[in-house]
């Protein structure tokens, strides 16, 4: 069988190197890489053998698997093992979409474009690697490989407090990934798994006693949770987002936060079911805390970008809630939500970046009536905000609907807590739109105009997918539920 996943990794690797050395053609190299990547992802989908009806067994099956021995000692077997299932496929698609949208949106980058586009491609390489890696060490390598380019993107291309933000981002997520690594290694060695492969860890970790599973789950939850980010370890996120350049924010919110959710599902929820069961109350508590805190604090924000950042915390809290429900519907909802949030928050960060470029400020109070000068941009603001608050026919709706359905199924009337918060957030978004988009023009500079073509195209790509999957969520649901775990229908 053709090693498609390795081919994609090679494409991204070659693309990254080529972009770094392409000089003034860097953006073309990055665009070509993103296009080839998207095409290969399409191939991956076309050749996916795991469509519904895929047989299930104790060890979950993966498609397109490749495995080569890497380090083999009698107590330590590390392999290069990669493969995809429905969950990772959905997030890989998200990676490809966001990469091409980010590259197009950042077309006008003038500050060392070769390095910028190279780092963007490298970030996507790392994310793709995380989604396909089925070996503890390989997973950790890609996980760390995401951290470094993002550190440089924030620290070099960011806003005035970029050094502080980059350092905070690095310290928080790096310490978390250390705890995660120790947790993963402990899972391997305490369970006596025969190798660091996912399948052998999966098979042997079930033999651990529930108490050990609970402790391991907590360690992994902390490691993945900081990336989510969960309250109270979320404070790196607003700083990183506000200081990061727009492209960096898009990747940060769209992809990096998803790594936390994916890691939690793949390496903790699937592998340590008893651990999840015991730790469920803690997860619920933190999920509700994140939902509430994210939205309450977002009400107090005047900066458009900080608003989006805090609503990310709120949304990722819902993802955590859905995961913590420990049901197949909840898992479906979590993946759908992550996909939707990836697209929509990417769009919203692009919008706030463009508002900043055109109007010189992101302060909601000092903006008003920008629709006449920037009709296209205003449309995007509208689509993004409405999708974020869950308007039907846009991608946010099926995701949030599934999530609340799953919550009701699992927790009954507790569902009114996130629902009530959602209503408040929705009202706040509407109020924001009313002030910024409509009414008499305010704070509009004389030379303000609509967004440049590349920024518009970048946003349009995301709008297309927002609408497409909003109308046809079944396309995604089919892929996600084909994962042969947890008895998907």
């Amino acid at each position: 069988m053709f090693p498609l996943i390795s081919a994609i990794l090679a494409t991204l690797l070659v693309g990254t190197v080529a972009t770094f050395f392409a000089g003034r053609y860097a953006r073309w190299a990055a665009l070509a890489t993103a296009a080839v990547f998207l095409a290969e992802v399409a191939l991956l989908f076309a050749s996916y053998t795991g469509w519904p009806g895929y047989s299930t067994s104790l060890v979950p099956g993966f498609a397109d698997t490749e495995s080569y021995a890497w380090i083999s000692l009698d107590w330590l077997h590390i392999n290069y093992t990669v493969g995809v299932d429905g969950i990772s496929l959905a997030l890989i698609l998200l990676t490809a979409i966001l990469q091409i949208a980010t590259v197009v949106y950042s077309w006008g980058e003038t500050k060392r474009p070769a390095a910028y586009f190279g780092l963007v491609t490298l970030t996507c390489l790392g994310c793709f690697g995380v989604f396909v890696a089925l070996d503890v060490l390989l997973f950790f390598l890609f996980w760390e490989a995401v951290l470094v380019p993002m550190f440089f993107i924030i620290g070099y291309w960011g806003g005035p407090r970029r050094r502080y933000a980059a350092l905070k981002f690095f310290v928080y997520t790096h310490v978390a990934s250390i705890v995660m690594l120790v947790g993963l290694l402990a899972m391997v060695f305490y369970s006596g798994a025969s190798s660091l492969d996912f399948s052998s860890v999966y098979a042997s970790a079930r033999g651990l006693s529930p108490v050990v599973q609970a402790f391991l789950f907590l360690a992994l939850f902390f490691g993945f949770g900081v990336k989510f980010p969960i309250v109270p370890f979320h404070t790196w996120l607003p700083d990183a987002h506000v200081e990061a350049p727009t492209g960096g924010s898009v990747l940060l919110a769209g992809l990096l936060l998803k790594l936390g959710g994916y890691g939690l599902i793949r390496w903790a929820v699937e592998v340590l079911p008893s651990g999840l069961h015991i730790d469920q109350p803690i997860l619920f508590f933190i999920a509700f805390l994140s939902i509430a805190w994210g939205s309450i604090v977002s009400l107090a924000q005047r900066d458009l970008k900080r608003l989006v950042a805090f609503s990310s915390i709120n949304h990722m809290g819902i993802v955590l809630l859905a995961i913590a429900l420990d049901s197949s519907l909840g898992l479906l909802a979590a993946v759908l939500l992550m996909f939707a949030h990836g697209i929509v928050s990417g769009l919203l960060f692009m919008v706030s970046g463009s508002v900043h470029h055109e109007y010189g400020t992101r302060d909601i109070a000092s903006l008003g009536g920008i629709t006449p000068t920037s009709p296209a941009l205003s449309t995007m603001v509208m689509v993004g905000s409405l999708a974020s608050l869950g308007l039907p026919a846009l991608i946010g709706f099926p995701a949030e609907f599934t999530a609340f359905l799953a919550t009701y199924e699992g927790l009954g009337y507790w569902v009114f807590l996130p629902l009530g918060i959602l209503v408040v957030t929705a009202a706040f978004y509407l109020w924001m739109m009313q002030r910024v988009l409509f009414g008499p023009p305010k704070g509009v500079p004389a030379e303000a105009h609509d967004v440049p073509w590349y920024e518009g195209t970048g946003m349009a790509i995301l709008v297309v997918f927002t609408v497409l999957f909003g109308i046809l969520p079944g396309l995604l649901v089919n892929v996600i539920t084909s994962s042969p775990i947890r008895g998907f229908p």
């Binding site: 380090i71 009698d74 107590w75 760390e144 310490v175 250390i178 120790v182 290694l185 060695f189």
Partner: protein, 530 residues
């Protein structure tokens, strides 16, 4: 036993002894050509390395093996002074590699430098001592072999005879070394009092049933102190920074990359037996009224505390340094802490991880000091800030040094990552409180990223300071020719740095052959020591 059978296994040692004597003879005959001396030293080191690799049984050269396979890892008969274990052979290989790289790079020392020929004689002599450490199986033999290493290195630090700082460093090194030797021998004498033997196998065999626990603990305490000076464990580390800083950088490379590691192997030899023998149940008369003690856990805890202390203090102090060599010296101290994790755990995976970490450290830290020596010869000052823009102006040096720093920081796809991963995996595998050793090690690795990254930033992102431009042609020694070829580095140094850079990446991507051999050796070692 005829002479050939007796001497056969000692071919590497005999080669080095011959080379040492030849170099000193040539010096007496006033044939003081740097290339000649260097050539003799390098040839003998390479040949010795070849024989050691052959003895380890690597397929292409296995036919050259000089030690009968039956004598390697053989169970001891009687109380021999020396024995051949495959882990010892691995360490011989590591020592020879370190000495070879330093000797190769030192071909690029200025030819008019006084005492340069002696340099090679002392390096081969010290290396001979290191080889003897690796085959020791008796405490006194071991400590004497360490002396054979120490005395030439005291001289090496000050071999230029002109530099006041180097002389001061040599004096300090000598005084501390003498103290360390005294402590070690005193510890050994206490152990002899308790065990009635100085043979390490014999001690390991009876470690579980000796009647004088206090005496034994005191003896091991003194031995830990004495050897900790050699390995630069905190709080016995203070001398190392001044010595590494004051010595010529090539010698620093030899000290940090080579001779320091004998202390670690000595730790392996001395402490593995008692750590593996879990019980020291003194039921007979106890001199100081102490009841039965478990010796193993006490030693493990002591060594674990020393390990964590060493890596943490080393890292924190490295963060504060402004001079390149002092920063590297403190980072060397913290790396010793990682290696001690392996000794504290004492399982074969942990020993394998520590051994790989030692090999990695030879390449990374030895290489880094070799680069520092080369850069110093280019007229760059000692401060980290003096390296501004060097990576851009000297891409070869910059890339190689960058690789070494990334490897020290434990960045993936370098040997430094693999060794730390294996070591910390072994710590988690060992369970109990050793998991916290892994956590401490990982947190320290995260901390260390900052000072390595700062150097990378200075080298690649900062514009060079206009006040201190690099000289147009690299003039060595401050006044006049010779101008060294290969970008001012000299071919020898350039070759050594290139070998190290390639090895760091190759072993980082595909460590299996080396790691597999080390793991097998560590298993044999543990099964012998227990």
């Amino acid at each position: 036993m005829d002479l050939a059978t007796f001497a056969g296994p000692f071919v590497p040692e005999i080669l080095l002894l011959g080379a040492t004597l030849l170099i000193f003879l040539l010096d007496v005959l006033k044939l003081r050509r740097l290339e000649l001396m260097g050539g003799i030293a390098i040839a003998s080191l390479l040949l010795a390395l070849l024989f050691v690799v052959a003895d380890l049984g690597f397929a292409p050269v296995a036919a050259l093996a000089t030690i009968p396979a039956s004598r390697i890892n053989a169970a001891p008969t009687g109380t021999p002074l020396y024995a051949f274990s495959s882990l010892g052979l691995v360490f011989q290989g590591i020592f020879l590699l370190a000495a070879f790289l330093v000797a190769l790079a030192s071909l690029s020392r200025p030819a008019h430098e006084r005492g340069a020929p002696i340099f090679y004689g002392l390096v081969t002599l010290a290396t001979l001592g290191m080889l003897l450490v690796a085959i020791a199986s008796d405490l006194i033999f071991l400590l004497l072999a360490i002396e054979v290493v120490s005395i030439p290195t005291y001289l090496l630090v000050a071999y230029t005879r002109k530099d006041v700082r180097a002389l001061e460093a040599a004096m300090k090194f000598y005084v501390v070394g003498a103290l360390s030797t005294t402590l070690s021998f005193f510890g050994a004498s206490l152990l002899f009092g308790a065990y009635g033997t100085t043979n390490l196998y014999a001690i390991a065999a009876v470690a579980g049933s000796v009647g004088y626990p206090t005496l034994v603990l005191l003896g091991y305490g003194f031995l830990i102190a004495g050897l900790a000076f050699k390995v630069t464990l905190v709080p016995f580390h203070a001398w190392a920074v001044d010595v590494y800083d004051g010595a010529p950088s090539d010698v620093s490379a030899f000290l940090a990359g080579g001779t320091k590691k004998i202390g670690l192997f000595a730790f392996f030899l001395v402490f593995l037996g008692p750590i593996l023998a879990t019980h020291l149940s003194g039921t007979s008369e106890l001199p100081f009224g102490v009841g039965p003690v478990n010796l193993g856990p006490i030693l493990q805890l002591t060594l674990a505390v020393l390990a964590v202390l060493t890596m943490t203090v080393g890292n924190l102090l490295a963060l504060l340094q402004k001079e390149m060599k002092r920063m590297l010296a403190y980072s060397s101290i913290s790396q010793a802490g990682y290696m001690m994790i392996g000794v504290a755990i004492g399982s074969s995976p942990a020993l394998a991880g520590a051994t790989l970490q030692i090999l990695a450290h030879v390449l990374m830290k030895g290489g880094a000091f070799l680069v520092v020596a080369g850069v110093g010869a280019l007229g760059v000052g000692p401060l980290i800030d003096d390296w501004k823009g060097l990576g851009v102006r000297r891409p070869f040096l910059g890339t190689a040094f960058g690789l070494m720093l990334l490897s020290l920081a434990g960045v993936p796809l370098t040997i430094g990552f693999v060794s730390k991963f294996v070591l910390f995996s072994a710590a988690v595998d060992a369970r109990g409180y050793f998991v916290w050793l892994a956590v401490a090690g990982l947190l320290n690795s995260a901390l260390s990223v900052f000072y390595y990254a700062r150097v990378l930033k200075v080298m690649f992102f900062d514009a060079p300071a206009p006040a201190a431009p690099l000289p147009a042609g690299a003039v060595v020694g401050g006044s006049g020719p010779p101008i060294l070829p290969a970008g001012g580095l000299g071919y020898g140094r350039a070759a050594a740095i290139a070998i190290i850079a390639v090895a760091i990446v190759v072993l980082g991507v595909y460590p299996q052959p080396v790691l597999g051999a080390i793991q097998t050796a560590a298993q044999h070692f543990v099964s012998l020591g227990g």
